[in-house]
Subunit: 403 residues, 2 copies
Amino acid sequence: MGSIRGNAVIGQSGGPTCVINQSLVGVIEEAHKSPIIENLYGALHGVNGIMNENFIELLKENQASLDRVAITPSAALGSVRKKVTPDDCAKIFEVFKKYDIRYFFYIGGNDSAETANIVNELAKSANYELRTFHIPKTIDNDLLVTDHCPGYGSAARFVGLAFMGDNYDNLSLKGIKINVVMGRHAGYLTAASRIARQDPDDAPHLIYVPERAFSEEKFLSDVQNVYDKHGRAIIAVAEGIADANHNPIGATNEVDSHGNVQLSGTGALGDYLSALVKKNLGSKLRVRADTFGYLQRSFPGCISEVDAREARQVGRDAVRFALAEDQDGSVIMKRTGNGANYAIETALTPLKNLAKNTKSLEDEYIGENANDINESFLDYVLPLVGEIPNLGKLQKYHLRKQQ
Amino acid sequence: MGSIRGNAVIGQSGGPTCVINQSLVGVIEEAHKSPIIENLYGALHGVNGIMNENFIELLKENQASLDRVAITPSAALGSVRKKVTPDDCAKIFEVFKKYDIRYFFYIGGNDSAETANIVNELAKSANYELRTFHIPKTIDNDLLVTDHCPGYGSAARFVGLAFMGDNYDNLSLKGIKINVVMGRHAGYLTAASRIARQDPDDAPHLIYVPERAFSEEKFLSDVQNVYDKHGRAIIAVAEGIADANHNPIGATNEVDSHGNVQLSGTGALGDYLSALVKKNLGSKLRVRADTFGYLQRSFPGCISEVDAREARQVGRDAVRFALAEDQDGSVIMKRTGNGANYAIETALTPLKNLAKNTKSLEDEYIGENANDINESFLDYVLPLVGEIPNLGKLQKYHLRKQQ
C-alpha cells in the first residue's frame, strides 16, 4: 500500500519545552516539500482544537514567522492536558473524516503518546486509513525506548548552569541552599545538577531523586555531614520526592485531569525542607530555598543548540516516516556515537511502546547512598546540553600574616 | 600632592552579581600596569578578610584564571554582609598601617559605600594617607548618582527573558501566574519584566513595585480585570511590596546584620498571593507562582555583554582615578548617548553621596494605576540588557469550519 493523499493535522500537548516549536516547524518544513500532504492543519490546544474544529492553516505561514517561532519556547499551537474519553475519540474521527485527515502528528510526552495510540487504534478498528505519529517532547526525559527526549537537553542545560552559578553564589556567602528541580517521577532533570560539580567540593553536594525513598532523618544527617566538611551545602531535590510509603514530601493538594498532584508553581517543598533544616540543625543557620519552577521549561536565554537541532530533526523525520510507507509510531532517537563523536539517528517504534508507562533514571547513575549522582551520568548528559561556559576560581596565593 | 607608592587592598561585599568579578579583574589588570601599586591584596570576605589579615596576592594570579574568573558570577574573593563598628574600623587601620595599605577598593552596594566612607573618614582624622574607592555593584540598581549599576543589566536581562518565556508558557496553558522578582525597596528589577511585553496582550499584564503601597483588594480587582480581558494573567511582583502601613506582604521574620528582613530564598510571598487569588477569585483557577530567587543574581547562562563590559571598565577606571590625583570616591556612570548611540563615561563622586541612602524607581516610569510600568522605561533599560532574542507567534490563518 502506498502513501495516501490527504490532509494532515498537528497538535501539541502537555507541558511546554524550549524546543517543542522546533519540532512543529520541522513538520511544517517537510510537509511543504511533500506532494501528497495537501493541507497541514494546526489544531489549537491539542485534541481540544480537533474536537472543536479549531484549526489554522500552517502551510500559509511565512518563513519569517516560522524562524521566530522555532526559537520561541512553549507550544505555538497552544497545549492541553486532557485524557481523551471514548466519546472524545468518536468526535475526533468525525472531524478527521470531515476534513479528510490522513496524517495525525501529535507532539507530547507519554500521555500524548497514549492519546495518539487510542485515536490510532480507533481508526484501525473503524477501517479509517490514518497514519499517526507521536513526536516526543518532555523536559522530564522519561519516555521509554528513545535515548533521550527533545526538550530535556535545554532544561538540563538550565539546571546545570543554575547550579554552577549557585555554587559560586554560595561560596561567596556561605550557607545551606536547597534548590527544587522539576521531575515528578523521573530524576533525570535533577541529576543534571551534577554537571555543575567541576571540583570535588563544588555544588551540588547532595542530590535527591524520586527514584529513591526520601527519609527526612537521613536527609538531615546528610546535610549535617556536608556542612561539617564544607562549611556549606547546596542540595538538589526533585519536586517529586516521596517517603518510603510514597507520600510526597511537602506537596499541595491540587490535581490535574490525569490525577497528578500539583508540584510546580509553588515554593512549598523548598520552604518545608528549609524549615526542617533550621528546626533540626540550628535556627541560626543561613538556610535558603529556591524552586526553579517554569523557568526550567521555558527560559529562552540559554537553549541547548544540540537539543534545538534534534527537536527540528524529529519533526522533519516524522513527516519522512509518514510518507515512506504504511506505518505509524513514535519517532525515537538512538545514540550512535558519544563524547566527541556524539551523534543520533531517528527511528520509528510502535505508539504503544511509549504510551502509558515512563522510564526512571537508571540505577547505575544513582549513588549507592541515594544522595548523589555518579560521574558516569555525565557521559550521558553532557552531549545533550551544549557547550558549558568555562567558569573558575582564583588560584589564591595566600599572603603570610605579617608580625 | 602626588600619588603614594604602597600597597592596595580590594574586597567584595554584599549580594553577588553576574559581573562583580569583571570589576575585580579590571582592578587587577590596571594595578598590574601601575608603577606605584606594589602589591594588590585581595581581602577574603570583605572587611572580615581585612580584620583577620586574610589576604591573597592578586598580582600573582595568572591570566587564564583571571579570564575564567571574569565570566564567573558572584564574588571570587568571597563576600560579607557586615555593618562595621568603631572597633572594627580601629582594627582595619591597624591592619592597613601594618601592611602599608594606601589604596582601598571596595566593590559593593550602598552599605559597602558606607563602610568605605567610614573607613576613609577615620583615616583622614588619623592623618593616615589612604585613598578609598567604592566600585558600585547591585542587581537592585538602587545606588544614587550613577545612571545605573554594574550587575543590574544582567539581572534585568534574566528577568526580561524569564517573562518572555513565561508569556509563551502561559499562552499555551492558560492560567494566572505570579512571578516574584528580587528588590526590597527599589522596583528597577521588577520593572525589567516590562521588556517582555512586545505585543499589547503579552505578559506581564500587571507589575507591582515596592515604590507603591500594595493593596490586596486592588490587586484582586486588577487580576480579575486582566483575566476577564485576556483569559489569563501574568503578574510581576517585587519581593519587597508592602501595604500602606509599610507592613511587608507575606514575608518571613529572619533578619540580617543590617536589620533587613529575609525576602529571598523562600517561596512565601508567591504562595501567599497564589492562595489569595484562589480564595477570592475561584478555587478552580489554575494559579501558579514562581519566585525567581538567586538565579537572578548568579545565573551564568545569559549575562548581558554591555553589563560585563561596563563592570570591567568601572574596575579599571577606579585604579586610573586612584593614580590620577589625590582623590577618593565612588566610581559612577553617566549616560552620554542613548538608543543606538548608547554610551557611558565614568566619573568620581564623593563616597558619602552613595552611602546610606538608596534610589527608588523614578515616578515617571510607574503607571498611574500603580500596577504597570510605562513604555518610557524601555528607553532606560533596553541599552543595558544586550540583544534580546526575536521570539514570535504564528500568524494563525484560521480555517473556516466545514459544514
